[in-house]
């Protein structure tokens, strides 16, 4: 065969290969499933849950995600600390309580970037003393809450009275990311968990999110641990269930 013709064939073959690669790269990983199928699957899943007493009233629209594991390095001084009142008092509102707590935290150490790594979860009036506010912070990696990380500060008109700290820094995010299970699969696991732990219970899921959880059973002796992504399901009765998100 002529060399010119061989070149033509090779050019066509390489063009086809390149087009194929471009097509595959353009697809989100694992997106072979047709979106219409996903919709039908979600609808079927929700029906199954409904039949088992679980109603979902939360956003279920999640894109496929690939997430890494996290290595958390726990603070050595985690624990509960009580502080004496300063003697000076000032009028306390939700805003000033938050300001006091923010200032206190800034003095206490480095907890990452406020609003990014550490975020305010709630500011509430103390149930035991209406003059006091309880400010709760949560730990985050990117936009994902790390379940076990939190700082709770009791603010009074005469200063900070208590800090309960369970904190860790993200020492490292894994080099590789793994695709997490779709929300439909996670919902079925959630249903299975609920039916196993509370047979006959009726639940209304009001929130679905992705979080990280360490789930370490080792208490305060752990210096570092690995956090895995998990689907978090919040129910109207105040319960939250975490379903491991890796296959």
């Amino acid at each position: 065969m002529e060399w010119s013709k061989i070149k033509n064939i090779l050019i066509v073959a390489l063009l086809l290969i390149n087009v194929l690669f471009l097509y595959m790269l353009a697809q989100p990983a694992g997106a072979e499933t047709d979106h219409r199928d996903e919709g039908a699957l979600l609808s079927d899943t929700l029906s199954v849950l409904e039949q088992n007493g679980i109603t979902v009233r939360a956003d279920t629209g999640f894109e496929e995600l690939q997430l890494p594991m996290l290595t958390l390095k726990f603070d050595e001084d985690n624990g509960t600390y009580d502080y004496a009142p300063t003697g000076k008092t000032h009028y306390l509102t939700e805003e000033t309580a938050l300001e006091d707590a923010d200032r206190f935290l800034a003095e206490k150490g480095n907890f990452g970037t406020p609003g990014k790594d550490i975020r305010v979860e709630s500011v509430a009036v103390s149930e035991t003393n209406p003059d006091r506010f309880i400010v709760s912070y949560g730990g985050y990696y990117e936009n994902y809450r790390i379940k076990e990380l939190g700082i709770t500060i009791t603010v009074s008109p005469s200063g900070i009275l208590r800090m309960e700290k369970q904190w860790a820094s993200v020492a490292e995010a894994g080099r590789n990311r793994r695709t997490i299970i779709p929300v439909t699969t996670a919902l079925l696991h959630y249903m299975d968990r609920v039916l196993t732990e509370e047979p006959g219970a009726r639940k209304t899921v009001t929130g679905i999110s992705i979080a990280y959880t360490v789930n370490t059973p080792y208490g305060g002796t752990v210096a570092s641990d690995t956090a895995f992504p998990a689907w978090r399901f919040d129910a109207a009765d105040g319960t939250s269930v975490y379903i491991p998100a890796y296959q």
Binding site: N18, A29, E76, G174, R178, T221, D225
Partner: protein, 487 residues
Amino acid sequence: MSRATIYKERIKTVLLVVLFITAVLLSYLYWRDSSFLEIKETMDNRLSLTTLASATIPEPSEFICPVSVDVNFGDGTFTSFHENAKGVWDLLLPFYIDFTKSSGLSVETLTDRQWDNIMSFQSARCCFDYGLPVSYFRSLGAANYGESDYFSDLTVLAFSKAFDDSFFIRSADGGCFRVRASEYDSSNILSAIENLRSLSTDQYYPMNQFLGTDNTVITPFSTSIDLPSLQFRPSVPDQDSDFNTNLARNFFGQSLDFIRTVTDNNGTTIFMYNYGETSLTVYPNGFFEYQDSPVSADKSISFTEAFRTASAFIADHGTWSAHDGKTIHFLLEGVDRDIYERSSVYTFRFRSHYGGRKIYGSDNVLTIVVTGSQITYYSRNLMIPAEEDFSVTPNTGTPNYPFVDVVSQGYKTIAGELMACGALEPPEDPGVLFDAVLEQITGIDTGYFEMTETPRKVCRPAWVLTFSDDIRIFYDLYTGEYLGTIS
């Protein structure tokens, strides 16, 4: 060829090169994600297995050796081989393998008294600490002569001139058997036993000859072996901060990205895979423990197959040497058999030896469990010699504390230890306590006893007195000081 054609061909060539480079780039972009890394990891693991397969995996015979070979020369002289028991075993074993191929083999049961009578003639007894399965001998070429109907393992393999057409077996459950051939030429083995006299370093005597007891266990008055104290240190290479991670890679592959890693404040690190179904715990001193949930494999394999599986796993996961590459000699110390669902379970325990002497204590042990063909447990508690020029100097004639003095002066301590272990009832007449202690002795040996000093551990040369129920009591070989008891 026209100028236009040449021009066209050049464009095609350039286009081909561009397309080829693009294809390579796109291919790289496509495969560079985790799936590529996973494939690479799989490849690495396969390569590692291939390397392992081609590497030398120690055979069971390298680790299987009697704890002693006791020889009665038949003229009132005795000896016992400990540090060179392996050499004597390798010499005598082929005789038994050949013997199993003799014609007309039959097995008969003996009483303990018959056994003792037979062994009072010229004889050699290869004594193990554990029951060695008969299937092991088949893997060495021994014929199946229906012995499994009588015993499944043996703790003593013996030959005696009393019946030179026979070998004698004591099984792990205490049964005594004579395996008799209708025709067997014993001249070679008798000659081999006689030649052991030249290898003997210490003269042994039955205790009943000099201690006023019925116990016929043989012992030297003293031993000429010079055993120095040994110092050991944790086997973690100095200043190796990546030790734990590198070790974990042996078990979980190169990428530990999806392995949960927990480190506690003491420096213990736990690596977990598949939500804890597989875990590796590495302690700060380099000891480690690996556990894997057994899968229902419904698979039974032979002792030898299980041993080879264990040996290959150890070779590939931390090696048979120390972490820093120092050579360590291990011998099989124990084997247990069990059943999990319908799979066979073999537990092998290996203990390190120095200068042919066993180190008794909690450390220096490898334990590995093979369930079906899967490794479900492996722990390695290993200390290594602290001195670079570690060696044992034999036969310098250093005087040591005579065994007779050990028992005559320490019998009350020994009795107390035996009573604490429930192996001896306090006699009504205290005057017979000495005799009661002597009656309980089932073996006398020398070895090392691991003391508990940290971080360096000292192992002291010791008289090792073995009693029933695997109780061992240790006395310093040179001072006669009581060192401890292991039960």
